[in-house]
């Protein structure tokens, strides 16, 4: 569902360029939930923004649901839902209006928009605030609205950049349970987070990225390789030699 090959992304900075993603390659199969792990500035957000077609790759290819992000960005957007930690919701619209608006943008007819709003209201438990302006919602409620917005067109792929960063423990657990439900429906999910313990037993696979390069790609068992300390220890063991060099 997601195929990334030798992806490179450079930014202009002052008079020079900075290589934020440096030849990244990985795949995420249909129905898989994969965690993208890395420190600040490792290249997670740049990779995800490139997959979401917000950034154009400098070189390499990225294919989402069979569509190339460079050649068919609109096709990619039709098949994908994207939420990031910085994604906001319009303060003066209600969740219902927001979902209706994005349903229109995705070309859904009135009946389909109504059905999707009802389904997402139930799935994401939006009923108690569906007609309240988003500006008056809590962080957790806003994040659920963001996720509903990303799901309004029923996408096969979800790319979630630190979706739990603004949430408390309870909100975070609820959201991750929701993601597990969505994966069970057959959706492909790529998510990043700094809270490794939260996703340790929820993701099928993990990608560890540092300085724009993928350092490890495997299941929890493969990464820990029988070591104590779980995912967090495996992460440090992978990243620290790189950081030290």
């Amino acid at each position: 569902m997601i195929d990334v090959v030798e992806l490179v992304k450079e930014y202009r900075s002052g008079g020079g360029t900075v290589r934020a993603v440096d030849g990244v390659s990985f795949s995420v199969r249909q129905g898989e939930m994969v965690g993208l792990l890395g420190g600040n500035g490792a290249g997670k957000t740049t990779t995800m923004r490139t997959l979401a077609t917000l950034l154009k790759p400098t070189s390499g290819t990225a294919v989402v649901a069979g569509r190339d992000v460079r050649r068919d960005p609109i096709g990619v957007r039709r098949s994908m839902g994207y939420v990031s930690a910085t994604t906001g919701v319009p303060d003066r619209l209600t969740p219902r209006e927001l979902l209706d608006s994005f349903g229109r943008l995705h070309g859904l007819g009135p009946n389909r928009r109504g059905e999707q709003t009802a389904r997402l209201t139930e799935t994401l438990d939006l009923g108690s605030f569906i007609d309240r302006p988003c500006g008056r919602l809590s962080s957790g409620q806003r994040q659920r609205v963001s996720l509903a917005r990303a799901l309004v067109h029923d996408p096969a792929v979800l790319v979630l950049d630190e979706p739990t960063s603004a949430l408390d423990v309870l909100g975070s657990r609820d959201l991750l349970e929701l993601l597990a439900t969505l994966r069970a429906e057959g959706r492909t999910i790529l998510l990043s987070t700094h809270r490794l313990h939260e996703i340790e037993h929820r993701c099928d696979r993990f990608l560890i990225i540092s300085a724009g390069r993928i350092l490890a790609d495997g299941t929890l068992d493969a990464l820990t390789d029988g070591r104590q300390g779980g995912l967090e220890e495996a992460f440090f063991a992978t990243v620290q030699p790189e950081a030290a060099s």
Binding site: G16, R49, T53, S101, L105, G107, P155
Partner: protein, 729 residues
Amino acid sequence: MNASQHTGGWAARLAIARRDLLEFIRDRRAVFITLVMPMAMYPLLALSSTLGIRSAITELDNREAVTRLDLVLSGNDAESFAARVAGIASRSEGPPEGWPGNLTIRLADEADALSLIDEGGADASIVIDRGTMAGLDGDGTVSLDVRLSTVRPPGRHVRDHVVTVLRGVADEAKIARLARAGLPASLVEPIRIGFSGVDDPSRASAVREILPTAVAAVLVLLALLTATGAFYPAIDAIAGEKERGTIETLLIAPCTPFDTVCGKFLAVFAVTLATLLANALSIALTASVLVRLLPLGPGSGLHAGGAAACVLITLVAYLGVAAIAAALCLAVTAASKSAKEAQNTLTPVVMLIAALAASALLPAAGTRRWLPVVPFTGQVAVARATLGLFSDRSDDDARTAAEATVQPPDIVFGLTASLVSSALFTWLLLHLTAGLISDEEILFRGPDAAASGLRRPRPQRIPSIGQGFAATLAGFAALWYSQGFSPEEFVPALLVQQASAVLVPLAVMAWWQRIDTRATYSLRWPGSSGSRVAATCAAALLLGVGLFLAGAAVALAAWGGDVSAEARQLAERLVALVRGAPAWHGVLLLAVMPAVCEELLFRGWVLSSFAGERPAPRRACVAVVVQAAAFAAFHLLPERMPQTFVLGLVLGGLTLATRSILPAMIAHAAHNATPVLLITTASAGDLASLEAGGATALPPWVVATAIGCLAGGGLLLVAARQGLSTRDR
């Protein structure tokens, strides 16, 4: 799970517009400022203006409508004369028209009378000598000498009142003489004039003097306030979305950035239109109140049909104001990271719009046929001309020459040109915004980017888009300020102008940015072999000559001799310069120097900044159009702008096609050298007919030469570019 279908296009644009409008109307403060405030502002403005106008009228009344007259009579017949005057004042049918309301007559000797008028005790003195009354009652003519103060000049009313009083005495004597001759009094009064239903004419006249200026100021204010209607929704639409983090959700929607920008434009345009209508309604209601408050007098307003036509044409013209303002504000705010930054950036936009709108009030503005194509100026000019056309003022002398010569076809042409130009500007601005909204650097740059403005940037190969704008603006500013210190003589002025407007800004910016001069100014040969370079240069030469001749033919057909005084003056100075010096002198000054300087600026710095190093076709087109527009505007005179714009397009295309500035310099030099050489070789008769401005078409052989040069240049260029490797291209 399935991918959504049939996305983008008008459905997406309307969805975004609907969403933005919904957000806008939920913001009560914004709705109040944008739509409700004008309803309160115009009445307040009108009230204060009305009070001012009425005070002015009262002052005029006090100054002009004085009805008091103090006369001192001296001489032997003074007493009889005074009695005659008193009789006229108290006659049953009333005194003659214009008779002073408060007339005092005193008798004194001649010396006392002079002292009295010099001290301010009386307005005038008349010596009534012995025999005056006998003369009046006889058949002769008596001479009276009215003496006014030599120390305190009296008001105009004193002279008028004295003449009225003496004419009253003379008329009575005239009627008595007719009666003695057995003739009726009507013999000398075939017409008696009476006025009815008239307000005080002096008051009406005062208001009518002020009214056209006030109406023109209101038209400028309407344009400015209509444009300000776009500010808040535009800030909220892009910069606000960036601040709230919602812009990403739109940019990952399944539509193009242009669809997104169009949707946002529709929302901002709708709010701006609502602002226009709110302003127009408030103006109409306020005007209807003012009509009752101010003594306008007859023939000073519009008849009902004319008023309706004026309102309709003004509203249609101002659609352009609303559209360009909405697109301009979106473009400006698209480059801002936050609402605060957008507000700061919009401040100069307000000043620009105000300056453009107000320039339509310049005295000669009404005579510029192509003025309606200028944004914000054109719409005000069309509305003003419409008002002049439909005004039923009877005193044509009081109308300006521009108003008096406006005809309905001019209005239709102006309105059409204004609407077409507005649509074009809007379209260009929307494409620019679509580029800016998805620009990664602008979209994801950190807050430190704005704070690093005064730090010298790292060296880079070519200037950025912002530096392209900066060079253009610096050039315009230098062009303007250099007029203050450049010498009166034409040649030194030309040198100062090119140096200050082109070379100095370029040198400063190139030093500041430390750009790669070869990449920025395309300092390369236009081909890898000598024959290709020669063929490309020859093609450029032919294109330059052809463009001048074709441009001159079109300009002559369009303008004929009907050009502005400034254009005529410039032409005369150029002809004088060319005729008064050797040909090489003219070619060097008017062709080679501008070709080198202006090409370095426009096809060098500006084009490379907008196009980038290896531009995609669409970006290359936008870059060529933008630099050509700046190049045309640089030539200041509206008559020259169409030709310079086309020249800029060709030179920009030539530079990008050959990746060298040399062909553009050659074509530019050939373009400018053609008239120099034609004038140098022309006969005195040809020049005389040129100066008379009678010609409206070039001879057929010239047109044929133009076509030949353009076709030959084009073919030669294609041939020179044939078989080039991709690297060479």
